[in-house]
């Protein structure tokens, strides 16, 4: 009996190891296949990612909550210990800001008057959704983060994501209760921008490092260190004049921009719903105007 079992084992063992080897090679092939499918930009993979993120989102929420709480408690203690110097600084800031307030009031009134003269119409009102950052997978290969709000909360694909500091990125994919944000610094991120002081158009490109590149400037354009970069609103994805970053170096290697929003400090963000349909409806405008003219 034992002898027979040994014989069976002797026959089965090579078959089993061959099958294991085939399985291994098959899985390697499947991994390459997945990459090729991804390169073909299949919507299915995008959805799969959104679904998986949706499933783990509650775990992210449960763990990131206490971490964020601890971090804010530590910050609170630091604030308390720096209260006196902080107060002095704020008093100085306040005095300075009162000056700015006067300037702003004056400009507002002037703007109002000029708009009245031009019969200027303000853009469509945008609404915002606030969300908490529950995961940032970090690392070298993808700059994206996960928010705890999804299509149930009104988040839509392509919407810009901002903090008080400035632009963070745009929504890449949306699940029912989570959404993935592509950061400005990601390799795949391209944002139409303006150099605020001169109005020069350019593209702000990420390259998976912490800083952004300013590319596709018109020849002869002048950019200096310290220039603010804001969104231009071209293409309709981002509303115009969202602050994106500041130029930190200009040399032969290119123009480098430091984003205003600090990735490691992101906790709450706002998703702006600019209504992309508005942008898509634009080409029909001349026809409507013609109809009006005929009347």
């Amino acid at each position: 009996m034992k002898e027979r079992a040994r014989q069976v084992h002797r026959i089965i063992q090579p078959i089993r190891s061959l099958a294991q080897r085939f399985t291994y090679l098959g899985l390697i092939g499947a991994a390459f296949g997945a990459m090729l499918l991804g390169k073909a930009d299949l919507v299915v993979l995008d959805r799969l990612r959104a679904h998986i993120t949706d499933v783990v989102a509650p775990i992210f929420e449960a763990i990131s909550g206490p971490i964020a709480f601890t971090a804010s408690a530590v910050r609170e203690i630091q604030y308390l210990s720096n209260l006196e110097s902080e107060n002095d600084r704020l008093r100085e800031d306040n005095a300075r800001l009162i000056g700015w307030q006067a300037v702003a009031r004056h400009l507002e009134a002037e703007n109002e008057a000029l708009r009245g003269m031009l019969n200027f119409k303000t853009g469509p009102e945008s609404s915002t959704v606030s969300a908490r950052v529950i995961a940032d997978t970090g690392g070298a290969f993808a700059h994206s983060l996960v928010l705890n709000a999804g299509s149930n909360d009104g988040v839509r694909k392509g919407s810009p994501v901002v903090t008080g500091d400035g632009l963070v990125g745009r929504v890449l994919s949306v699940g029912a209760r989570s959404a993935r944000v592509l950061l400005l610094t990601d390799l795949n991120s391209r944002t139409p921008v303006l150099v605020e002081s001169t109005g020069t158009r350019a593209i702000l490109a990420g390259d998976n490092s912490g800083r952004l590149k300013l590319i596709h400037l018109p020849s002869g354009a002048y950019v200096a260190v310290g220039d603010r970069i804001v969104t231009s609103g071209h293409g309709g994805v981002f509303p115009p004049r969202l602050p994106a970053g500041v130029v930190v170096s200009v040399d032969e290697a290119g123009i480098r921009v430091q984003p205003f929003a600090d990735r490691s400090r992101l906790e709450y963000v706002r998703v702006i719903d600019v209504g992309l349909e508005e942008a898509l409806r634009l080409p029909q405008l001349p026809i409507e105007r013609k109809a009006v003219a005929r009347q």
Partner: protein
């Protein structure tokens, strides 16, 4: 009869832990700590699990489970689908073929093995992602990430070892 059923269930649950810990580390790897600069060096925790279980219990973390863990890592981490599936399979394949040199060896030697394989896997991922996007990804961050992963190996691997000794009885071939 009843007790054997529960014993079987208990054994099954214990045998699932290598895959469960790998998947758990994929998810935990997605949580960023609010430490300045952490997001840059965020270690690939799950790779430690793949390496450890490939040495000690490849029967409980077979190739298909490694493939699934890799796909999960890609889905959560935002890398193109297939990148980490391939990287994890490579790590698993190399480690399983080198088991005679790694299994049952002193902890420091096993760590040394990871010091070689961890950055190698980082390099593989870098090549794959660069080829996928047809551009060279900033290699600096890859180095930091590999260093952080290697640095976090001892505590995680020690935890796995202690769990393994307590809960997973050695099989005949292990």
């Amino acid at each position: 009869m009843k007790s054997t059923f529960w014993q079987k269930l208990d054994l099954r649950a214990r045998q699932l832990t290598p895959f469960a810990t790998t998947a758990l580390l994929v998810v935990l790897g997605g949580i960023s700590l609010p430490i300045p600069g952490y997001v840059v060096i965020a270690p690939v925790l799950s790779m430690i699990a793949v390496y450890h279980w490939a040495i000690h219990r490849p029967d409980l973390l077979p190739a298909w489970a490694v493939f699934l863990a890799g796909l999960l890592q890609d889905a959560i981490g935002g890398t193109p689908f297939g990148v980490y599936a391939l990287v994890f399979l490579t790590v698993w394949g190399i480690v399983v073929s080198q088991r005679p040199f790694l299994a049952g060896k002193p902890f420091a030697l096993v760590w040394l093995g990871f010091v070689l394989i961890g950055p190698g896997a980082g390099l593989e991922a870098w090549i794959l992602v660069s080829a996928y996007h047809l551009t060279l990804v900033d290699p600096e961050a890859v180095l930091f990430q590999a260093a952080a992963t290697v640095g976090l190996f001892p505590p995680l691997a020690a935890a796995f070892l202690s769990w393994q000794r307590r809960a997973l009885a050695p099989t005949e071939d292990a």
